[in-house]
Every structure is written in structure tokens, then in C-alpha cells.
């Protein structure tokens, strides 16, 4: 289906970016009765949304604004979007976090105490019960914790279906239509320029993911969204071998770390299509797209440590993506007081798929001017301005 680029020239909302966050924003805005036009410089989900694992996690969060957003987004996935769950392979598979040493077992135990107090459901699993969850898991582990709320989706299908649903509500989606500038009226943004012509709307949402900083630049403002590269190894299709998302306790530390150097921690999970996805790595290397064999080797070794049965299994491909992160590891969500008419919904780092549903709904609420279900103060786009000056 191709949409004539003449459609949606004038809209209530322009969403820049056809990834998960943009698609959720478009869907919730359209559902609120707004006329929406989505523009993307590339194809559908051309950035990080098609190069990730589709995680919807609470297990890797600690108390704070991101956990609040995670729990809120969980609710949106499970209530507002429940009827579409099968379309994008939503699976509430649960996450199993495992520790490999006594020390790590203790810190996992402490983490679960804090998380429980923050409202996360978690069950501590003694070492000898881990095989009840994962029959093939290594016998060398010391403890585990099970998070029943952790879920997974097929992110490409999330994007494609949410945009389809938005289009059925009147939205227009134009791929390969890069935004090259903003149309201003005084300080306010009232439209965007593209090589295919101008588009006008009183509200414009910057949902450009890892490239959101570039869009902000076009509006003459600073939003520090930077890439943090991650590789994922994909195995041959297997019968169901790994039932949950399984990862090592060190993953949580790496997620929360700001280290520029390479970090790898094993994250292993099966998918609907039978492949097993093996992550995760985090490096700040800009948009470097060259393969890193040391990363792939470390991922393979660590996955075998968790699941010795994977030893003979073949990797058939790998991919990489660039997580959009902000220096304080919180996303930017909300209106930008520096440019009236411009909202941001970006910088979700490795949690963008999980947080997309909640983010989309909050942005829609903010645009139509009703009070948002969650306060957006912690995600304010201008917060970095104060740090800089």
C-alpha cells in the first residue's frame, strides 16, 4: 500500500519517526481523534526498532521515574493494546535473572527486595529450582529471580500494526520523507519541510529515536540523544528450548552504567519463530556499523555459560542497533518550552519498545491538553539546558 505524498499535508499532529515510539504516538493521537501525519526519512522502523529484541521489561529497573514509566507502559500494553497482542506476538513470557556467584546471589537478593518494595512482582528462585523454569540452564548458577511481568513483542510487527491501526483512524504515513527543516511562526514550530514538500500541523512530535538530536538541531535546540551500540546474535530455529528471557544479574548494572567502554552481559531468549536471540553488548562508538568479532565471541561464550546446550547450535546471523540514550539515562518526553508546538518522545535507550506504548499515550494526552496519567517533569526536554549553563 502506497500513500500519495499529497495526503496529510495539513494535520493536527506530525510525528517524525516511524519507529515504535512514533507508531505508538501516532496510534494514540489518532485514537484521540487527531489528524496525524507520520514522516520518516527511511522505511518503516528503519532505525533501532527493527534492530532490537522487543523487550518489555520491569526486571532491569530500580525505583525512580523510569520504573514508574515502565509500570505505566506495562498497563497500556496489557489493557489498551490487549486486543492486538497476538498481532505483534506479545508474549508475557517472564524474565529469569540468574546469579553465578555467592556475591552476585546476594546482590540479586538485595535488588529484588528493593524492587518488590517499588511494586515489581518478583519471586526469588533458589539454585536447585532454576531447572523448573529452564530445563537446560547451567547447573553452576547460585540463585535466580523470576519476574512474571517481563514480556516480549516482535517490534517490527508492533510498528507495522500500530501504524496500520492509526491509518485506519485516518492517519497518513509517509516513508522516505526526511524532515529537512522546521517552518516557524515566531518561536513556534508550525510545520516541517521535506524534499517532498511542506507539511503543516500545530503540534509536531520528535520521535526520531537515536537521530532525535539531529531533529532538535533543525529546530535550533539541543537535545542530547546519543547512540549506544548493541549486537545481537541469532541462532538457527530451534524447538522451544528457552522459555523465558534469561539474563545474568550483571546486566542490570550494565544497563544503569555510563561507561563508554564495552560491556557484555548474557541475555538469552527464544522467539516465536524458533530462533534464540543472544545479547547484550553496550558500547559508545558513535554510529560505527562495522562488525565487532570480540563482541560476538563474548556473547557466544556467555550464552553457552548460561545454556551449555547451545554449544552445538549455529549462529546464522547477527545484527546491531544503536540505543538512543541521554546522559542521565532517562528519555525526553513532553513539550519543549523553547519551541512551542514541538514535543519530544525519544531517548528511551534499550527500553524503547517497552516504554513506547506508555510514551505514546502520554504524548497524546499532552497534545490534546488533558492532564497526563504520569507527571512528565523528570523527562523534560529542556532539563539538559540547565546542566549546560
Amino acid at each position: 500500500m502506497t500513500t500519495a505524498v499529497e495526503s496529510g499535508r495539513t494535520a493536527d499532529v506530525i510525528v517524525i519517526g516511524a519507529g515504535a515510539v512514533g507508531a505508538a504516538t501516532a496510534y494514540f493521537a489518532a485514537r484521540a481523534g487527531l489528524r496525524v501525519t507520520v514522516l520518516d526519512s527511511g522505511p518503516l522502523a528503519g532505525g533501532t526498532s527493527s534492530a532490537c529484541e522487543g523487550n518489555i521489561l520491569v526486571s532491569d529497573k530500580e525505583a525512580g521515574p523510569e520504573l514508574d514509566l515502565s509500570l505505566y507502559s506495562q498497563k497500556i500494553w496489557r489493557e489498551d493494546l490487549a486486543e492486538f497482542a497476538d498481532l505483534f506476538e506479545f508474549e508475557s513470557k517472564g524474565g529469569l535473572v540468574v546469579a553465578a556467584s555467592e556475591r552476585s546471589a546476594q546482590s540479586l537478593h538485595d535488588l529484588t527486595e528493593r524492587q518488590r518494595a517499588s511494586g515489581i512482582q518478583v519471586t526469588n528462585v533458589p539454585a536447585n529450582s532454576l531447572t523448573d523454569y529452564e530445563p537446560h540452564i547451567s547447573k553452576k548458577l547460585t540463585a535466580g529471580a523470576f519476574y512474571p511481568e517481563d514480556a516480549q513483542v516482535q517490534p517490527m510487527l508492533v510498528v507495522a500494526h500500530l501504524l496500520r491501526l492509526a491509518r485506519e483512524l485516518g492517519a497518513f504515513v509517509h516513508t522516505r520523507t526526511p524532515v529537512t527543516g522546521f517552518i516557524r511562526k515566531g518561536a513556534a514550530a508550525i510545520g516541517v519541510q521535506t524534499p517532498q514538500g511542506d507539511f503543516h500541523a500545530p503540534s509536531i512530535v520528535n520521535a526520531a529515536g537515536t537521530w532525535a538530536g539531529n531533529i532538535a538541531d533543525l529546530a535550533g535546540i539541543h537535545v542530547p540523544v546519543l547512540p549506544r551500540r548493541g549486537f545481537v546474535l541469532v541462532t538457527e530455529p530451534l524447538p522451544v528450548t528457552i522459555h523465558h528471557k534469561v539474563y545474568a544479574a550483571e546486566y542490570v548494572d550494565n544497563v544503569l552504567s555510563s561507561d563508554a567502554g564495552l560491556q557484555t552481559s548474557p541475555v538469552v531468549e527464544g522467539t516465536d519463530s524458533g530462533t534464540v536471540l543472544i545479547g547484550s553488548s553496550r558500547e559508545r562508538v558513535g554510529f560505527d556499523r562495522t562488525v565487532s568479532l570480540p563482541v560476538l565471541a563474548a556473547l557466544a561464550a556467555k550464552a553457552i555459560d548460561l545454556f551449555p546446550v547451545l554449544e552445538d547450535i549455529k549462529a546464522i546471523r547477527h545484527y546491531h542497533g544503536f540505543r538512543p540514550y541521554c546522559p542521565d539515562h532517562l528519555p525526553v518526553i513532553g513539550p519543549d518550552p523553547r519551541v512551542p508546538g514541538l514535543w519530544h518522545a525519544a531517548g528511551h535507550e534499550g527500553a524503547g519498545i517497552g516504554l513506547s506504548a506508555g510514551t505514546g499515550k502520554l504524548i497524546a494526552q499532552s497534545i490534546i491538553g488533558i492532564s497526563t496519567d504520569l507527571p512528565l517533569g523528570s523527562f523534560a526536554p529542556e532539563r539538559f539546558e540547565q546542566v549546560l549553563t
Binding site: 500500500m1 502506497t2 500513500t3 522505511p43 518503516l44 522502523a45 527493527s50 517490527m156 510487527l157 507495522a160 500494526h161 501504524l163 496500520r164 491509518r167 504515513v173 516513508t175 546474535l233 541462532t235 538457527e236 530455529p237 564495552l262 519463530s273 530462533t275 543472544i278 562495522t290 562488525v291 568479532l293 570480540p294 560476538l296 565471541a297 563474548a298 556473547l299 557466544a300 561464550a301 550464552a303 553457552i304 547451545l310 554449544e311 552445538d312 547450535i313 549455529k314 549462529a315 546464522i316 546471523r317 547477527h318 545484527y319
Partner: protein, 490 residues
């Protein structure tokens, strides 16, 4: 092995690779020749395992002396220590270059890990080379057709490989279909081996050849081949039906019959021309398409060739544009073994010249002239045997397109109509064709064509390249990858 750096790594020991390796050795370069097969020759000169059966007769082979001459040169160079030959070895990753050099480490694994001991002995897991000549060859190009996933349906090249490599006849009653001159040797080979070939179905019109006779005449050996096949087809009473396709393949657990029909010049089936044949083997081939994952992996430029396949761009001396990387053979555009040999030699001479060795400019221009002539013939052949433009019209919603992930044509139509998948890359990500074991090698060309036809446009280089990119050049065991964990440092 890991300490040694070779002047040149040649990937593939088919016509182009053998020519490249022996030519490079002859001008004094140290060469490592890496090939997934067990003995040199590639698909074109595939022959039974000589360690098992000794030298056999090669009635089915053309240019056999070209091969044996190069093979002798290979053995001589191996004995002299100029060529290190690694058969049964699969290249799965080419490391990115470090800094400003063209030096690359090639990551290797065994092609297979079961079978006779001499074939599964552990090979080096890496070699380092200063220059690289990629001669990856190609394989049959496929178009899906209803029922093509039934056992007994094979790539025409697969039928031929069984005959040439294993001296095994794929069945008793065969039909060979698709387009291109390669259908003839497959049919004749089967008939000579005792099978009944009920028909060759050629989608093109034979008279398409006439305008291209002039081009063909410049490569006399091709004309002779044609005459030989015509005689053999007459001898075995193999009917050759042009403008005919297989419309559907029937059977429960294996092939039982096919329905053929006539098509017009666009490839649209003509109602009322259906014929049914009882067969137990179907050979399908729509020409060849090159293995492009290695050129794409090193970042070489690609283009859509005259036959519609994705091929690597090279200059008139086989340079890829990536420093230190040369490409020869089918990967630069399907053109047959003779051209591949010339390109392989030229690539070796260019690599030698680029690394400061004296080479004869006359040799270079002689090879360039040869290649130009062969290329003219190839273009004529491709033009005479096009993939019919209306081929996607043969598909039913339930026709399997991606055999690995079992994605049907209907799934692709839905992805396009409902989910706005408007290019091959998005179709792949939404509906999963090309995501399985073979990573789109079999269905990639078809997916690009389907994407384009759903959008009412021509397939683009971008459509093809999205299907031709493979981040691992072959599957690799996680334990092999993990073994590198202790060896590699950041």
C-alpha cells in the same frame, strides 16, 4: 598458520578461483586458496571424489582440459609452497580492516563436521591476507511455483550435481523447466544416465536467439555445445517446448505430476494450453545468481545486472573499489566458466601489479579483450532468456515463497496491503522471508521481484541488496565463536 600472512587469499576454487590462485602463484605471490568443497573445480567442474573413485570419464564436462591444466598448476604450486590449499573450509566472516592497511583476517570453519575423517580434520580457524580475491560463484536462480517445496523438486543444478558429483540419477521420469541454456545439459545428462525426460520447458522463445547470433558467434565453443545438445536431445527424444512453464507441481509427500502451460511474451499463462505429465523429478532453474554475501560484507558496490540479479561492481581490472579486494567470476555478472577463468587471471595480475610486482600489460589487455567478448555473449544470452516479467502472476496465495521460514505469497501480499511493506527489506522484517537457514539465498531474488511487483515498479538494487546482505557468510557454531573469546583482544 595464524602467524603467517599470505599475500593473497582466494575464496573459491571454481573456475575463477583456480585461475586466480594459480596465476597469482605464477607471478610470485604467496596464496591461500579457501574452498568449501572437498576438491577443486567448483560447481562447474564438479566430479566424483577422486580419493574414492579415482579419475573418471568426463563426458559431461566441457573445458575439462582447462581444469586439469589449472589443477596441475595448483598441485605444482602447492608442492613448491606457493599455494596453501584449504578444501572443506568455509569462510564465515571477513574481519574489518584495521587502520589504513588492506590486511584482513579471514575466519574459517569446517564446511561440515561429519563424514570421512580426512574431510573433517580440523582446519585453521583463521588466516591473514594482504589482498583478497573473491570468487564465490553462484547457484541456480529460483522462482517459486505452486508445489515446488515437494520432495523430488530440485534445482536444475542440484540434479546436475547429483549426476556429476555422486553419479546418482534423481529419479526415473523427469521434467526440466525454467529458462536458459543450462536446462539442456541437465536434461541430456539425465537421459544419458537412463532417466526419461518428458520435456524441457523453456519460458523464453527460441527465436529470441536469432538477433544475438552475432554475439554468440564470437564465442565459437558455445555454438558447438548447442549443436551437440541438439543431437543428444534428438537421440533421446527429449521434447523442447519454448514459451512453456510449469504452472503447478502436484503430489502428496513427493512429486507425482506437473501441469505445464504456454505463456505469452510477458510470461502470462495462456488458458487452455495446460498439459499434465506424470513425473518423479522436477528440475527448476532460471539461470544463475551469484553469491554476493562476501562482496557485500567487505562493502563493495553492487548493481542490478542485465539479467536482474544483484552483482558486484568492478573496474576493468576486477578491482572492487575496496582497497585490496578484487572480485572475479559469476559475482561480477553471470557469464559462465570461460569468462570466470579470464576474470580470475586478470584479478590476480591486477592484485600483483597493485602490490608492486611487474606484470605484462599485454597479458592484461589480452584478458580484458577476452572478457569483453565473453560479456557480449553473456548479455545476449541473458537477453534471450529473461525471467518473464509477469512471473509473480503464477503465484497462488498459498504458494510457499520462503522455503525455510515457510512464508507464503499471501503472507507477503498481506504485509504489503495491510502493513505498508513497500520494499523487500520491510517485507522481510514484517513477514520473515529470507530469515531462515539459507538467509534468503534461495528466495532473495524472488522476494525482491515480489516486492517490486506489489508496488507496481521495477525491482531495485536496494530491494536485491537487502536480500543479499548476510552478516555471517555461513552458519557458525556458537562454540566456534566462543573459542575466539580468549584469543581476541579489543
Amino acid at each position: 598458520m595464524t602467524d603467517r600472512v599470505f599475500d593473497i587469499g582466494v575464496i573459491g576454487a571454481g573456475p575463477a578461483g583456480l585461475a586466480a590462485a594459480t596465476a597469482a602463484a605464477s607471478v610470485g605471490l604467496s596464496v591461500v586458496l579457501i574452498d568449501a568443497g572437498s576438491q577443486p573445480g567448483g560447481q562447474y567442474w564438479r566430479h566424483p571424489d577422486e580419493q574414492q573413485v579415482g579419475e573418471t570419464d568426463h563426458a559431461g564436462h566441457h573445458d575439462w582440459t582447462t581444469f586439469t591444466t589449472m589443477r596441475s598448476a595448483l598441485h605444482t604450486a602447492m608442492e613448491a609452497g606457493h599455494i596453501t590449499y584449504l578444501p572443506d573450509t568455509q569462510l564465515w566472516l571477513i574481519d574489518p580492516v584495521k587502520e589504513a592497511t588492506a590486511r584482513r583476517t579471514l575466519r574459517l570453519t569446517n564446511s561440515y563436521t561429519a563424514g570421512p575423517e580426512q574431510h573433517i580434520a580440523r582446519r585453521p580457524t583463521e588466516v591473514t591476507v594482504d589482498q583478497l580475491i573473491l570468487c564465490p560463484g553462484g547457484y541456480d536462480r529460483q522462482l517459486p511455483v505452486p508445489g515446488w517445496d515437494l520432495p523430488g523438486v530440485m534445482a536444475a543444478g542440484g540434479v546436475q550435481a547429483l549426476l556429476k558429483g555422486s553419479r546418482t540419477v534423481a529419479g526415473r521420469r523427469a521434467i526440466i523447466a525454467g529458462t536458459g541454456p543450462f536446462l539442456l545439459p541437465v536434461a541430456v545428462g539425465l537421459a544419458e544416465a537412463g532417466a526419461e525426460v518428458v520435456s524441457i520447458c523453456e519460458a523464453g522463445a527460441i527465436r529470441n536467439w536469432l538477433p544475438h547470433v552475432a554475439a554468440a558467434a564470437q564465442v565459437p565453443s558455445k555454438g558447438l555445445e548447442g549443436a551437440q545438445y541438439a543431437a543428444l536431445m534428438a537421440k533421446h527424444r527429449i521434447p523442447y517446448r519454448s514459451r512453456t512453464i510449469i504452472r503447478a507441481i502436484h503430489g502428496e509427500t513427493s512429486v507425482e505430476a506437473v501441469t505445464t502451460c504456454k505463456v505469452d511474451s510477458s510470461g502470462t499463462p495462456i488458458a487452455g494450453t495446460e498439459r499434465r505429465y506424470e513425473v518423479d523429478v522436477v528440475g527448476l532453474g532460471w539461470g544463475f545468481t551469484p553469491s554476493l554475501e562476501l562482496p557485500v560484507m567487505v562493502g563493495a558496490q553492487t548493481r542490478r545486472d542485465v539479467d536482474g540479479s544483484l552483482v558486484a561492481v568492478v573496474d576493468d581490472q576486477q578491482r572492487s573499489g575496496i582497497p585490496g579486494v578484487y572480485i572475479a567470476g559469476e559475482a561480477t555478472g553471470v557469464g559462465g566458466a570461460s569468462m570466470a577463468v579470464a576474470e580470475g587471471k586478470l584479478a590476480a595480475l591486477t592484485a600483483a601489479a597493485d602490490s608492486g610486482r611487474p606484470i605484462s600489460p599485454r597479458d592484461v589487455s589480452r584478458l580484458q579483450h577476452k572478457i569483453k567478448r565473453f560479456r557480449g555473449f553473456a548479455v545476449a544470452m541473458h537477453t534471450a532468456h529473461p525471467v518473464p516479467e509477469a512471473w509473480t502472476g503464477w503465484l497462488e496465495p498459498e504458494t510457499v515463497v520462503c522455503r525455510c521460514e515457510e512464508v507464503n505469497y499471501g503472507d507477503l501480499c498481506t504485509a504489503h496491503e495491510e502493513l505498508q511493506a513497500d520494499d523487500a527489506r520491510t517485507l522481510k522484517l514484517v513477514a520473515r522471508p529470507g530469515m531462515g537457514w539459507c538467509q534468503g539465498r534461495v528466495c532473495g531474488y524472488a522476494i525482491a521481484g515480489i516486492a517490486a511487483s506489489l508496488c507496481g515498479r521495477e525491482p531495485s538494487e536496494e530491494d536485491l541488496r537487502s536480500q543479499g546482505k548476510r552478516t555471517l557468510a555461513s552458519p557458525v557454531a556458537l562454540s566456534d565463536l566462543a573459542a575466539l573469546n580468549n584469543e581476541i583482544h579489543l
